[in-house]
Symmetry: C2
Subunit: 206 residues, 2 copies
């Protein structure tokens, strides 16, 4: 696209670097900002810069935080021996929204993905293994995506801690609540059959 | 959503003010920025602020520009008597991409829309009417969206200039090139029948 203004072109190009935003969407967003008061752009720019420069990661769980130890880790009502291993902050939000989990988290910052060039060294795996070896953990719950990368990451961590005397579990894979059986894919349906649970247990969580 | 960081929350809220961007998408974009080097966020913020503060509108056609008179208006090979009336800069881009139009533009900055609270006073209509009355124009081409708002705006402008001795035309509405007739909506098909053109003329533009 040939723009009539270098300033506009520059802004559109930068916005289009964001994931899932193409040139057309970027132009729409930038033109929207042009129609709004100048303050809105100033506030947006400042919020982004401030966030990027000042944000810290919790020393304990590596969750995004404004302070050295995040609210969840600092909460005395949380069971710090029960650790849920997740990929990033979005998963923490999702699990917190259920209101069920009373332990703390360990945010890996991604999953092992050779295609994207992410190896175990770039993830917060070593601190997690150390926590386990220092007997700070009684149970580890893997809550990564149910993909090849997620499974690889689970297995990589499991190999390093399997000799420690802790419980290691993974969240259940099965038919989503409210789903029709006939539309479920066969892998999920197969797993949900193999990993069937006693009906009394299911009754408890209804 | 309850975020673990006020900085993150603030950034997400500001990004979510953009049109078509919800909280979830905003979070995804912001987390993407967090994974990139700090410079990328700085460059993005600066591009937006600079664009918003320094951009000017062409004195002649009200297109977005870096200088007082835009490249198109300043081009001596353009016919300044032939004016294409468009809504905003995206339409200029679209028409320029065809490579067919050799006149200049007049950017209204929107269309009359009572629902969105946009009246004729907020659009660049008066300067256009003045251009016509000062005999600076031989032909006016309306190229607004084919919606009720577009038609209203066309008619509003037409009423003010209909006594002037100029040609006023509107871009053709009809079946898109490459479209199957059976899938065309009846209004478009009806219009394309009523506004049928001599086959010799169609041959010329093939």
């Amino acid at each position: 696209m040939e723009f009539s203004s270098k300033l506009l072109q520059n802004a559109v190009n930068e916005v289009a670097l964001l994931p899932g935003i193409g040139k057309r969407t970027a132009l729409r967003l930038v033109l929207h900002l042009l129609k709004q008061p100048k303050e809105q752009t100033a506030i947006l720019s400042e919020a982004l810069t401030k966030m990027r420069n000042d944000i810290v990661y919790c020393q304990k769980c590596y969750n995004i935080s404004d302070v050295a130890v995040c609210d969840i880790c600092a909460n005395p009502n949380r069971d710090t021996q029960l650790i849920c291993v997740v990929e990033d902050v979005r998963d923490v939000l999702a699990i917190e929204n259920t209101g069920i989990f009373k332990g703390i988290y360990h945010v890996l910052g991604g999953k092992i993905s050779p295609i994207e060039g992410i190896g175990p060294g770039q993830l917060n795996i070593t601190p997690l293994v150390n926590k386990v070896k220092n007997n700070e953990v009684t149970e580890l719950i893997f809550a990564l995506s149910s993909t090849m990368e997620g499974d690889t990451t689970n297995f990589y961590i499991y190999k390093q801690i399997k000799d420690c005397d802790i419980k290691v579990s993974t969240i259940a894979r099965g038919i989503s609540v409210g789903d029709e059986l006939e539309y479920a894919d066969e892998v999920t349906l197969g797993r949900s059959l193999m990993q069937r649970i006693p009906f009394e247990n299911a009754l408890k969580s209804m």
